[in-house]
């Protein structure tokens, strides 16, 4: 190894180390604070304790908000998976004009300000006579989750070799059976990963949800923000730590299914 190569090696390590440190800071800090005994976020914590987790268990409004968030995320992801997969098949297999426009349109909710989408929906739903908070949240969250499904399933489908289905049919499978036994297993990883990230996006959404909540129906991020504004203490860090744990689980599953490098594709 020449001196120049060694120097560039060190530079890579330095930049990588700095980036990792910078990116992980908020998550590490949150977790550290949640296990500390200090009320005023002292770091490093003077002593370790689980008091904030005990406190969290007794927090009013937290459990209902969590339940609402989980339900909305699960149902909207399921609906988005059906709509998104059908659409992805049309985009990859179809031979009709405007496919590029359609795919841009379907992914566009990711690119526009959530706040503006939320306001537009608030007024649009009012004009259409949709007033129920829960239903509005559900309808809005399908728009949030759909882009994740379409993007990933289109990617996976365009890599799928459709002659395998013809092969299965030659070997005696009916067309639906060939789809179920060949296409579904091949797509399963993309399906699960995109579903997982769509679910998390729905769970974490703030700027759209905030227009569709009232005193009785709140999603978790809305409830959390209310705690932050009313009484910021490390209990919020404990809730955050739970959400980070959920993200870690998703990452591990995603890595097993499709690999980290694939997840970084942009």
């Amino acid at each position: 190894m020449t001196a120049l190569e060694r120097a560039s090696q060190y530079i890579v390590w330095f930049i990588a180390g700095f980036t990792v440190l910078f990116l992980m800071t908020p998550l590490v800090v949150t977790i550290a604070v949640s296990f500390g005994s200090s009320t005023v976020f002292t770091l490093p914590p003077p002593d370790w304790s689980l008091r904030w987790y005990e406190r969290m268990a007794g927090m009013r409004g937290l459990l209902p908000a969590l339940v609402v968030s989980l339900q909305i995320a699960a149902v909207s992801t399921a609906v988005a998976m059906v709509l998104g997969t059908l659409c992805a098949i049309a985009l990859v297999r179809g031979r009709f004009p405007g496919r590029e426009t359609i795919s841009t349109f379907l992914v566009s909710p990711l690119m526009l300000p959530g706040l503006v989408i939320g306001i537009a929906m608030l007024q649009g739903f009012k004009a259409m006579g949709l007033r129920d908070v829960y239903a509005s949240l559900l309808v809005a969250h399908v728009v949030i989750t759909l882009p994740y499904i379409v993007r990933t399933v289109v990617g996976a489908l365009s890599l799928f070799d459709f002659s395998l289905i013809d092969a299965a049919r030659t070997l005696g499978c009916s067309y639906p059976a060939a789809l179920v036994r060949v296409l579904v297993p091949a797509l399963a990883p993309a399906f699960l990963t995109s579903g997982m990230f769509a679910f998390l996006a729905s769970m974490d959404n703030y700027p759209i949800s905030m227009f569709f909540t009232d005193a009785w129906t709140k999603t978790l991020p809305i409830q959390m923000l209310q705690y932050v504004e009313e009484r910021p203490d490390p209990t919020i860090a404990a809730i955050s730590a739970g959400l980070v744990l959920l993200a870690i689980l998703a990452l591990i599953i995603g890595d097993r299914l499709v690999g980290l490098r694939k997840m970084a594709d942009f």
């Binding site: 530079i11 980036t19 974490d204 959390m224």
Partner: protein
């Protein structure tokens, strides 16, 4: 009747599979956006740009627009300065280091903005890590509070949006053949010349999309400024949110929302056009 105007679309039955999703988005997403846009342009006497005129004639609002663009520009600069080298480090790192970097980039992406902004409230306190580190390094004489300052906002937002700068640049950096630069070196080009004439042009498409992502997200961020800088400092997005949720001034809110929408759409369209132009000139 429609079958005649668009015959090729209907000859392919597979196209029908796209219909449910497209119809759904048209009704609950495209129609409301269009409605918002139209409503912002109609007054009691028909078509009008009055709301925009009165919005722009108020110097306070100009300060809001200025705040929005200045913070977004700074966030983009910080993200670029950290993200560009980071993308190279990610591409050149060994397997283990690369995996660690990927985890630290992807993991924060699946954690919500409320969680991360709250974490930055802790980090930016007078006794927070940033202050402690800077004092420890001797750069600051005494601890300072960065929370509720513009610097703190830029730092927190840059941290939250950094993955959106690194990943697009990484996606082009990993495709660059390192031998290209070596060839330049063999031919006697200096490192600086090699960078400006080989590496930089090749990474330009990634830079354009990274900058577009970060800038448009910073322009429209809402939770992050509310938690990191507070109500004294208004941006277009916080003003939009406030006018709907607190002030109940839907007219003002719709106007600023449409301005944000137009800004975001022009960034997306502009960057796509730019990326295509750059990509086209290279082949």
């Amino acid at each position: 009747m429609t079958t005649k105007s668009a015959p090729s679309a209907w000859r392919d039955p597979v196209a029908l599979l796209a219909a449910p999703a497209v119809l759904y988005l048209l009704v609950v997403y495209a129609f409301p956006l269009l409605w918002l846009f139209m409503k912002s342009l109609t007054g009691p006497g028909g078509l009008t740009i009055q709301p925009y005129v009165s919005f722009l004639s108020d110097p306070f609002n100009w300060r809001v627009v200025g705040n929005t663009l200045r913070v977004a520009a700074w966030v983009t600069v910080v993200c670029f300065v950290i993200g560009y080298p980071a993308a190279f480090a990610l591409a050149r790192a060994g397997a283990v280091l690369q995996a660690v970097m990927l985890v630290s980039i992807i993991l924060p992406l699946s954690v919500g903005a409320v969680v991360k902004a709250f974490a930055w409230q802790i980090v930016l306190r007078r006794d927070g890590i940033v202050s402690q580190t800077l004092v420890g390094l001797g750069l600051w004489d005494e601890p300072q509070r960065l929370l509720f300052t513009e610097t703190g906002l830029v730092l927190g937002a840059a941290n939250i949006f950094l993955p959106f700068m690194i990943l697009p640049i990484y996606s082009v950096v990993k495709l660059i053949d390192p031998r290209l630069s070596e060839a330049g070196a063999t031919l006697g080009a200096t490192p600086l010349y090699r960078f400006t004439h080989v590496t930089l042009p090749l990474t330009l498409p990634g830079i354009v999309s990274g900058v577009a992502f970060v800038f448009s997200m910073s322009v429209s961020m809402f939770v992050i400024p509310s938690l990191l800088i507070g109500d004294r400092f208004q941006t277009l997005a916080t003003l939009t949110g406030r006018s709907f949720l607190l002030m109940r001034n839907e007219q003002l809110g719709s106007t600023t929302a449409v301005i944000l929408l137009v800004l975001a759409v022009s960034i997306v369209v502009g960057s796509t056009w730019l990326a295509r132009r750059i990509g086209g000139s290279q082949t």
